[in-house]
C-alpha cells in the first residue's frame, strides 16, 4: 500500500515537473519580448520550485500508518 502511494505521488510529482517545463518552454520560445519573458520565467520557476518542494516534503511528512489505522486499514 505504501509503495502504491509512493508510485502514485511519483507520477503526480512528475506531472508537475512536465507541466512546469511546458510553461517555461512556451515563455522562452513564443514570447516577443525577451527581457519580459526572462522575468516571467524567473518568477515562475522560483515560485513553482518552492511549491513543488513544499509539496514533496508535506507528502513525506504525512503519517500514513496513523491515517490508515484510524480507518481500519493496515499498510
Amino acid at each position: 500500500m505504501r509503495q502504491l502511494l509512493l508510485v502514485g505521488y511519483g507520477l503526480l510529482f512528475l506531472s508537475y515537473i512536465i507541466a512546469a517545463g511546458f510553461i517555461v518552454f512556451h515563455f522562452i520560445r513564443y514570447s516577443f519580448n525577451r527581457s519580459l519573458a526572462s522575468l516571467a520565467v524567473l518568477l515562475f520557476v522560483a515560485v513553482t520550485s518552492i511549491l513543488i518542494l513544499a509539496n514533496a516534503l508535506l507528502f513525506l511528512a504525512i503519517p500514513w500508518n496513523k491515517i490508515f489505522t484510524s480507518i481500519g486499514l493496515t499498510l
Binding site: Y16, I23, N55, L58, I62, K66, I67
Partner: protein
C-alpha cells in the same frame, strides 16, 4: 523599427520587416477566462478564513499534515493552471508589420496556428463593438478581408477596434501611395490602451 517594438521579435520575422503593432485580447476578455480560477482561489481563501473565524478545528476530522498537503496541492494546481490559461489567452496575438498581418492562435498548450495576410492584398477592414461592456470599455472585433480570395482574418475581442481598423487602413493607403508608414501610424488616433 517602430520605437515601441524595438525590443520585440517573432519567429519568422524577415530582416526588412518592422513590427508596427502587436495586439493581444482586451484585459476584460482575459479576465473572463480567469473567472473560474479566481473563484477557486476565493473559495480557498474564504474557506480557510471561515475555519479560523468559526474556530473549527478541521484536524480533529482529518490529519493536519494531510490537510497541509492537500492545501499545498490545490495552490500548486491553481498556480500551474493560471499559467496554462495565461499562455492560452495571452499567446493569441495579431501582429501588424509593414508587410503583412500575422494571426497566431494558441489553442491550449499544444496547438498553435499561424496564418498571414499580405498588407497589399487587403481590400476591406471593418470593426465592430457589440454589447454594453464592450461599448463602455471599447473593445471588439476587427475583420480583415483580402481581394478576390476567400482569405479572412478576425481579431477577436481586441482593445480599440476602430483605432486598429484606422491604423491598418492608413498603412494600406501609405503603401499604395508610397508614403511613409511611420507617418501613417502617427496619423492614427487611438482611444485607449493600444498606443
Amino acid at each position: 523599427m517602430h520605437k515601441r517594438y524595438a525590443n520585440y521579435h517573432f519567429i519568422g520575422q524577415r530582416d526588412d520587416e518592422e513590427i508596427l503593432l502587436i495586439i493581444h485580447r482586451h484585459w476584460f476578455n482575459i479576465l473572463v477566462h480567469f473567472l473560474g480560477l479566481i473563484f477557486a482561489g476565493l473559495v480557498l481563501v474564504f474557506g480557510s478564513f471561515s475555519l479560523f473565524w468559526f474556530s473549527i478545528d478541521i484536524t480533529t476530522l482529518i490529519n493536519s499534515q494531510l490537510v497541509d498537503f492537500l492545501v499545498n496541492t490545490l495552490i500548486l494546481f491553481i498556480w500551474l493552471f493560471f499559467f496554462f490559461l495565461w499562455i492560452d489567452v495571452w499567446f493569441d496575438v495579431w501582429i501588424v508589420t509593414n508587410r503583412r498581418i500575422i494571426n497566431i492562435e494558441q489553442k491550449g498548450m499544444f496547438v498553435r496556428e499561424i496564418s498571414e495576410l499580405q498588407i497589399d492584398k487587403i481590400q476591406d477592414v471593418t470593426s465592430e463593438v457589440i454589447g454594453v461592456i464592450p461599448s463602455i470599455l471599447n473593445f471588439g472585433n476587427v475583420s480583415v478581408q483580402t481581394a478576390g480570395e476567400q482569405e479572412h482574418f478576425e481579431f477577436y475581442q481586441v482593445p480599440d477596434p476602430t483605432g486598429i481598423k484606422n491604423m491598418i487602413s492608413h498603412i494600406i493607403h501609405a503603401k499604395e501611395d508610397n508614403e511613409s508608414i511611420e507617418q501613417a501610424i502617427n496619423e492614427t488616433t487611438f482611444e485607449n490602451t493600444i498606443k
